[in-house]
Symmetry: none
Subunit: 189 residues, 4 copies
DNA sequence: TATGAATGAGCGTTCATTCAT
DNA sequence: CATGAATGAACGCTCATTCAT
């Protein structure tokens, strides 16, 4: 009985504007930006914002979900390249590096998500990312490069504990990648 | 010249109560606990809390400083054991493990310190810890067990990125320790 | 282009209620009344009060501005009567008397304005009042009744130093008016 | 520093120190200085301050009383000069001028007294001042210089309404003195 | 007695959320 | 539906006053 929804266009556009603005504001000013500021940045009134996202937690969850969707896309692209011959370990570490670099910029998103205990909110995107990462891991294990006990959860664990300031990221990757592989860290790495 | 100040007894006891309560409250409810709640948990009035710590930032810094002092004690004890023959790498990883386990309990302290930009406040304790850790690293490098480029900052980096939930800690240590060493992670680790 | 804004009605009414209540509360309890008390007296929540006046200083400035606007109206009315034949000195002293009587009721407004260093906020009203008073003075000087060196600032000076308790006002006017005129105070004044 | 027991001497010295410090602090920082700051400036603990003055109002009253005592001294000196031939009107206006100049510096004291509704507290000094001023007025009236209906209360009224900023004081005296005399303000005054 | 630590009501202000328009 | 005014609990912090030492 849910009939034709004519005003969908506006609603969809508003939702997009709000998500974009929320991402920008949280990134720029931290997770404590006021809802009023987000609404103003989106060019809507607070009421509209609450129509789309009943609580601040929901809004942050949606912002996080967008990030997860981009991660899933990235993981699937990496997997596609592996199927054309690139070594899976290289793709996995490059993927790890890209995601973490991105989360430096979006650092507040992570903080916000944790601070507010936001639910992921987009199980589908998470599943897509998980499947692609699992496939990368398996391919690397088949190559003998990735340590046999590594799982998707290990990658998630590293995501969730990555440093949030740019200069630390490279060193952290250097320290962390050997644990995923079958090789010792070279003396000059 | 160094007179015993009689009325200090209460004040000292209150300071202790406040620090303890602050640690507990921040751990339990995050860095955003109200000062009133901390005061209530300590069994004092807010004014008393502000007499001891002029701002919330100061209070959080003091809580963090206490934690740092305990870490310094731990590092020095580990270093002492190395000088009696224990392998330095074992002591370093055990130390890492202990500190991180402890910071799981005190997890919010870290978040609080970052959130509020709290100054360490106790440079001496930090220096003590740094010196002991540096000595541990050098001993391990002399043994040929610890990778030659590892520094104290690497250990700090790992501290600051350690997971904050209990079950993840062990696995995380497994993944992270190989980066500190000259050896690959064994297939069955 | 000049659209009627429907939802403004409530806001306008609230603003009025707040200004009225603020004036009453400040008069009754001095410039240190709490914002909560003003809000309660106005029948709104504090937040509403802050929506209309971002700081306490702004609120006080608005209360003062209302008073200034009434003074300007009074001065202009007096000037109009002079142009129809009333002696300017009589109108000026009567105006002085009226404003000061009014400021007895609104006494705290003055104190509040000074205490908070509030900006007038309504320069237009102040200019109107100043122009009308200047015209009154000039007319009285043309009549030969008002002392030739009297200026608008003298009137402001008297405003700002008027007594704030009712019984003193009449005597104070008796003492102060001769300084504005070309005549000595009569023996039986 | 703990001398032999001379309870009275210490107490008297402390009272003096507190009064001096209170006067300075209130003059320097306005009537809202904290009791702690006054105590610190006096070199005593708050408790001592409260031993001498049970409330802040009492302390301010005492500061005001000191000022009144100085005014009484001034008035009596003026009266003495009149008895040696100086015109009483000149002495009265000069006295008015001196007191008001002094109250510009001590302006915060007056503000504090009003703000706190402090009782004068030192009836004796007030009576002394009143008697001397009354005698000045009578002498001026005998000379035919001072208007016959002027009373001590008129002088008090002028004190209480004097401007508190330096530049205004001279002009204000010019405007106000004619009301006390039997003469019109000269055209070039 | 003097000390200064403790008290706690109160302050101005903020902000996630609700609801009349 | 969007709007934005209204709500009110909560926040960090202050300060006149009290009271144990």
């Amino acid at each position: 009985m849910t009939q034709a929804r004519a005003p969908r266009a506006d609603a969809v556009r508003n939702r997009k504007k709000i998500l974009t603005a929320a991402g920008e504001q949280i990134t720029a000013h931290g997770p404590d930006v006021g809802m009023d500021e987000i609404a103003a940045a989106a060019g809507v009134a607070v009421g509209t914002l609450y129509r789309h996202f009943p609580t601040k937690t929901d809004l942050v969850a949606a912002v996080v979900a967008e990030f997860v969707a981009r991660v899933a896309d990235d993981a699937e692209a990496a997997l596609a390249r592996v199927s054309t011959g690139t070594p899976a370990l290289d793709e996995l570490t490059a993927f790890l590096s890209r995601v973490i670099e991105a989360s430096v910029t979006d650092r507040a998103v992570k903080a916000a998500a944790q601070a507010l205990g936001a639910e992921p909110g987009d199980r589908a995107a998470e599943d897509r990312a998980g499947a692609a990462v699992a496939a990368l891991i398996h391919a690397g294990q088949a190559d003998g490069d990735i340590h046999p006990d590594v799982t998707v959860n290990d990658i998630y664990l590293l995501f969730s504990t990555a440093p949030t300031d740019q200069p630390s990221v490279d060193r952290w990757l250097t320290l962390v990648v050997p644990g995923l592989t079958t090789q010792a860290r070279p003396a000059d790495s």
